[in-house]
């Protein structure tokens, strides 16, 4: 609710200004509190991921271990390392190091006072719980770095992403410009066709595309199937850019044309500077799509380990038999760069994406 209607309410109920301000403040606080709770819940699987990736394998296999990353408390006594347990005694729970394990009783040392000697405690040590202290480890990331050739995978990903961006910039922007600024015979029909191609499921073009790429063009085991299509324009990017170009007033580009600027020059020096958020948005969409791409890779790069991108090669981690904490670390490594890119560009990303009608 806007302030004006609240003011009306206030006059109606004849509440004092202070009550009104309190109510206004409470409402704002409740809304903001609610949305932060919602975002925490929404991202809770990512919290799990981040916390688990910093845990040790030992901690993960102990179901009584704390939720946060921690390591077992150890105590060195007379040159040997012993585990520290939570021992219930008459004077409360004590953290003692277990020295001698027997069936019905055990002997402990109090780490705070080792000089006091062995303490006898009756009961089975197996029911005792380990003590943990908070501690994080980067061993999972190190483990991953050693088992996968990351520099190679990153290089492949950047080739696919970079050339895909180049293709998108060269084609989609030009086509969107053509659709937004020129009177083309049959232009309406072509635009309808463009929208129609967005709706065509991939599986229909999959079989012939696969046959053509492998049998006719011999592109099996190369980057080409991942890159070449982007040079022919992507229907949805063209649509989004065209919608945005249409909102840019024509006066400036007509003036530039009268000054003798050609259409290409007009596009580069007049249209593009005014369409930065839209171009950034489409560039980012292309980036995320190329980064996550899996289908074309699985068709054409399945046997070429040396050409696989980060996301695609991660598929094999399941067969490596990685335990959860290493898998969480790998999930972080997979998404870190796209997430950083998203945060760096949040001011532009999808800010100007006002979609007004598809049937135009």
């Amino acid at each position: 609710m806007k302030n004006s209607s609240l003011r009306g309410l206030r006059r109606f109920f004849n509440v004092s200004a202070l009550t009104f301000r309190l109510w206004d403040f409470t409402g704002t606080a409740i809304l903001n509190f609610f949305i932060w709770i919602a975002v925490l819940l929404y991202l809770s699987p990512l919290t799990y991921m981040a916390i688990t990736a910093l845990k040790t394998k030992d901690q993960l296999s102990d179901v009584t271990s704390p939720i946060y990353p921690a390591v077992m408390e150890k105590f060195t006594y007379q040159g040997s390392v012993y585990d520290v347990y939570n021992v219930p005694t008459d004077e409360g729970v004590k953290q003692w190091a277990l020295i001698n394990k027997y069936r019905t009783y055990s002997e402990f040392i109090d780490p705070a006072n080792p000089g006091a000697g062995l303490i006898r405690w009756d009961g089975s040590w197996r029911i005792l719980q380990d003590t943990y202290r908070p501690s994080i480890t980067f061993a999972n990331f190190k483990n991953l770095w050693q088992s996968i050739d990351y520099p190679n995978k990153l290089r492949n990903t950047f080739i696919v992403v970079g050339l895909g961006e180049l293709g998108m910039f060269l084609s989609s922007i030009a086509v969107a410009y053509g659709f937004s600024r020129f009177r083309i015979p049959g232009g309406r029909f072509l635009f309808f066709l463009l929208i129609a191609t967005i709706m065509i499921p991939d599986s229909i073009t999959l079989v012939p595309t696969f046959v053509i790429y492998t049998r006719v063009l011999g592109w099996n085991g190369s980057f080409l199937p991942l890159i070449v299509p982007s040079f022919f324009g992507n229907a949805i990017y063209i649509f989004l850019l065209r919608q945005n170009f249409k909102t840019i007033p024509r006066d400036l580009d007509e003036a530039a044309m009268l000054d003798g600027a050609g259409p290409l020059r007009t596009l580069i020096s007049i249209i593009l500077p005014q369409a930065v958020p839209a171009v950034v948005t489409v560039g980012l969409l292309q980036f995320f799509n190329a980064w996550n791409e899996m289908r074309m890779s699985s068709l054409f790069l399945g046997t070429r380990q040396d050409l696989q991108t980060i996301s695609f090669s991660a598929q094999a981690f399941v067969t490596f038999g990685f335990t959860p904490e290493v898998l969480q670390a790998s999930a972080i490594m997979l998404m870190a760069i796209p997430v950083v890119v998203l945060f760096l560009s949040q001011r532009y990303f999808m800010q100007d994406m006002i979609v007004t009608g598809i049937e135009k």
């Binding site: 903001n32 799990y48 079989v207 998404m335 979609v355």
Partner: protein
């Protein structure tokens, strides 16, 4: 002059036109051709015309029918959830009282760009019988049997985590509604709910329609705005998984093409229904320069 403009325009369109012919029209027609043959990858020499046999096989193939219903079921379950969650979130974000909107917007959008394989790892960890949070924090304290495997959780999380693009499109549309309209409605005594249904919804209906279209495409396994990189074998659309199984496991390209055409027909019917319903609820703004074409 006008002819020259048309030619220059066509020159700018040429990458897409060539791409359309080579990457869309030609493969689609070829797929139709394949669907009437017994084309098998392992033995291409034996390929011959077999008429409608592949399509008749589909009607007898219960696994194919089940996968088609699975695809439609996923569409029916996931798309409304995605649409309403995105719309609700956009409404909250259009409140003046909400602070740090830019950060929150990015946080809500963030899961939409996470690679599918990373989500798969996260869920398999979350549902791990020993250390997974679902079992440790929710099921064990409630004395419920442990949940094992990624199965049901994966499509659920994937659907809930895909509201990002729809949310931003609808939010952008809401922010572009002129405030004077709300002001006028308020003067006339319209409450917040009335204003939402009689101003916000009609004004942003093109954005709702656009989000609906991209959600339909992704529900059937296509890629509209954002690709998560779902491999064929864990596709959300069971029909698509079945088609790729026919293609890669049995190398039966003829049957796979016929199945793809069946799926295309189903998607086409749904799309046409959505597009023709648009006339009744989507308010397309008048375009000033409509006569240019």
């Amino acid at each position: 002059m006008r002819q020259r403009e048309g030619l220059v325009g066509l020159l700018f369109l040429s990458p897409w036109i060539i791409g359309f012919i080579l990457l869309k029209a030609f493969p689609i027609i070829t797929a139709l051709g394949f669907s009437f043959t017994n084309f098998n990858m392992l033995d291409p020499a034996k390929t011959r015309f077999i008429g409608l046999t592949n399509y008749l096989t589909f009607f007898k193939d219960t696994a194919a029918g089940a996968s088609l219903f699975g695809s439609i079921g996923f569409f029916v379950l996931s798309v409304p959830v995605e649409m309403f969650a995105a719309l609700g979130l956009a409404v909250l974000f259009s409140s003046q009282r909400l602070k740090s909107k830019l950060l929150l917007r990015t946080l809500f959008f963030m899961p939409s760009i996470i690679p599918a394989i990373a989500i798969f790892f996260i869920i398999s960890g979350l549902t791990d019988p020993g250390s997974g949070w679902i079992n440790r924090l929710i099921l064990t304290p409630l004395n419920l049997p442990p949940l094992i495997g990624v199965g049901a959780m994966f499509p659920m999380i994937l659907a809930v985590w895909t509201i990002g693009p729809g949310f931003l499109i609808m939010l952008g549309a809401m922010q572009s509604v002129p405030p004077e309209i709300y002001e006028a409605a308020r003067v006339d005594g319209a409450g917040p709910i009335m204003r939402f249904f009689s101003i916000t919804v009609p004004m942003i209906s093109p954005a709702i329609f656009f989000s609906l279209v991209i959600n339909i495409i992704s529900a059937f396994g296509g890629v509209a705005l954002l690709d998560r990189g779902l491999p064929f074998n864990i596709s959300l659309s069971p029909m698509e998984g079945y088609i790729s199984q026919q293609m890669f496991s049995y190398s039966d390209l003829g049957y796979a093409s016929a199945l793809a055409w069946v799926m295309f027909a189903v998607v086409l019917i749904i799309t046409l229904a959505v597009f023709s319903s648009a006339r009744y609820w989507v308010h397309f703004p008048e375009e000033a320069d409509n006569e240019e074409f």
